[in-house]
């Protein structure tokens, strides 16, 4: 997902008897559905895991602007260009909400950005794939944002207050993203045979990377179990993946596109689609930094930060100079 394979520092999930009093009270509070706020007691691993998860999520929103930015100057109409700009601006906003939520846990914004730029912090594997045609912008909105929504809606109910509130804001804005993507796909699929072929090509290239976004099967993962106990992960990777496939297949059928999976078949007994496994080796390679665009994405981020440094510093100098006569009345 936008946060993939988040390390919880746990070797196994501990039972209530093994926790100390503070930790037990903390877990009971989570079990009762009471939100944890920044100043409340929390186990160190919970804090660190959330910093990893929220910052990874924030980095994904920020880096996620880059594949789409590739098409701003080449959008087919002024209207599509304005819409794409608005979407990209939303992604920046989502990144900012999430950075703020992470900062309440005691990490600074500068530290998070430094970790992204050094390669220490991760972002979602999906943004390391290239956007080769305009149809990719449609496929990203429809599939990538569709998959993101699937993960983010449950997170609105997660145990950490600032994260849940940030997610609520993000979810309100995200369905615009998915719809604008599907709208691009509809336009292409109702267009010329060449345009429809572009849409099919985009689906062919994005399908498996999107299926991988949910992360590897996690039934055996101790981190997933720990995150579930802390209510910062509410459904397993496989549950969300199944839900995504079930939801997306009819949408592809409406477009008259075919999903590039030979194993895809409705299973009447289960009431779900059966589907094939993605190439998990590819996923782990992308996570390690060997995807098609990893180096380019990071280099672009680092360059943007470096090129803007003089301006950010100038603003601080300006603020320091004008600090005194800065008493505006509240409206």
């Amino acid at each position: 997902m936008y946060a993939q394979m988040v390390d919880t520092g746990a070797k196994r999930v501990r039972a209530a008897e093994e926790m100390d009093a503070d930790e037990r009270a903390f877990q009971e509070r989570i079990d009762r559905g009471v939100k944890i706020e920044p100043k409340d007691f929390m186990p160190e691993h919970y804090r660190k895991t959330l910093i990893r998860q929220i910052s990874q999520h924030a980095h994904s929103e920020i880096v996620g602007q880059l594949p789409e930015g590739n098409w701003v100057t080449r959008a087919p109409t002024l209207k599509r260009k304005a819409i794409l700009l608005a979407k990209i601006q939303d992604e920046a906003g989502h990144g900012l909400y999430l950075y703020s939520a992470a900062e309440t846990l005691g990490i600074s914004r500068d530290q998070m950005l430094a970790d992204l730029h050094s390669g220490k912090a991760k972002y979602s594997s999906i943004f390391n794939y290239p956007t080769l045609s305009w149809a990719d912008i449609g496929a990203i909105g429809w599939l990538v944002d569709g998959a993101a929504i699937m993960n983010q809606i449950p997170l609105c109910r997660c145990s950490f207050g600032p994260y849940a509130r940030a997610m609520t804001r993000v979810c309100k804005e995200e369905s615009f993203h998915q719809r604008q993507g599907y709208d691009i796909m509809i336009a292409l699929c109702r267009g010329t045979p060449e345009q429809k072929a572009m849409a099919q090509d985009a689906l062919n290239r994005w399908w498996w990377p999107v299926v991988m976004m949910f992360g590897p099967p996690d039934e055996q993962s101790v981190h997933s179990a720990q995150s579930a106990q802390w209510k910062i992960k509410l459904f397993s990777n496989d549950e969300l993946r199944q839900r995504f496939v079930d939801q997306t297949v009819p949408q592809a059928e409406y477009l008259g596109l075919s999903i590039p999976d030979q194993a895809l078949k409705w299973n009447a007994q289960r009431g779900h689609y059966d589907f094939g496994q993605p190439d998990w080796n590819e996923f782990f390679e992308v996570i390690k930094g060997n995807g098609p665009c990893n180096r380019d994405r990071l280099a672009t981020r680092v360059k943007a930060a470096a090129d803007g440094a003089w301006f950010r510093e100038a603003l601080v100098a300006h603020a320091a100079k004008h600090q005194a006569p800065q008493a505006q009345k509240a409206a």
């Binding site: 706020e37 100043k39 409340d40 007691f41 608005a86 601006q89 939303d90 906003g93 900012l96 909400y97 703020s100 900062e103 600074s108 914004r109 500068d110 509130r165 940030a166 804001r169 804005e173 440094a309 950010r312 510093e313 603003l315 601080v316 100098a317 300006h318 603020a319 004008h322 600090q323 800065q326 505006q328 509240a330 409206a331």
Partner: protein, 94 residues
């Protein structure tokens, strides 16, 4: 000089007649930029008619540990709520 921009808390009045409500926070070098950034980050869809920004460092918050001494005294004073006083059915407009 690489000092981090200070953190600001953002409050938005969503429509005239309503109070400003806390919506989140952001970094900005000064108050003017904080208002500008708040406009971009928190009001992209007509969410507001007015923005307040306050330096986070200037906010004094009660601590979770003081919850009992601060808020428990009010618990026993249920008579502060109108529903504490049952009114006879026949009596109207009260």
């Amino acid at each position: 000089m690489s000092s981090e921009w200070p953190l600001w808390e953002v409050f938005i009045r969503s429509q005239h007649g309503l109070a400003h409500k806390h919506v989140g926070s952001l970094h900005a070098p000064d108050a003017e930029m904080a208002v500008n950034n708040a406009r971009d980050v928190y009001t992209r869809r007509n969410e507001g008619v007015s923005i307040w920004v306050v330096r986070s460092a200037d906010i004094t918050a009660s601590s979770p540990g003081d919850k009992a001494p601060l808020f428990d005294p009010a618990r026993s004073k249920v008579y502060r709520h109108p529903t504490f006083f049952p009114m006879p059915e026949e009596v109207k407009n009260i």
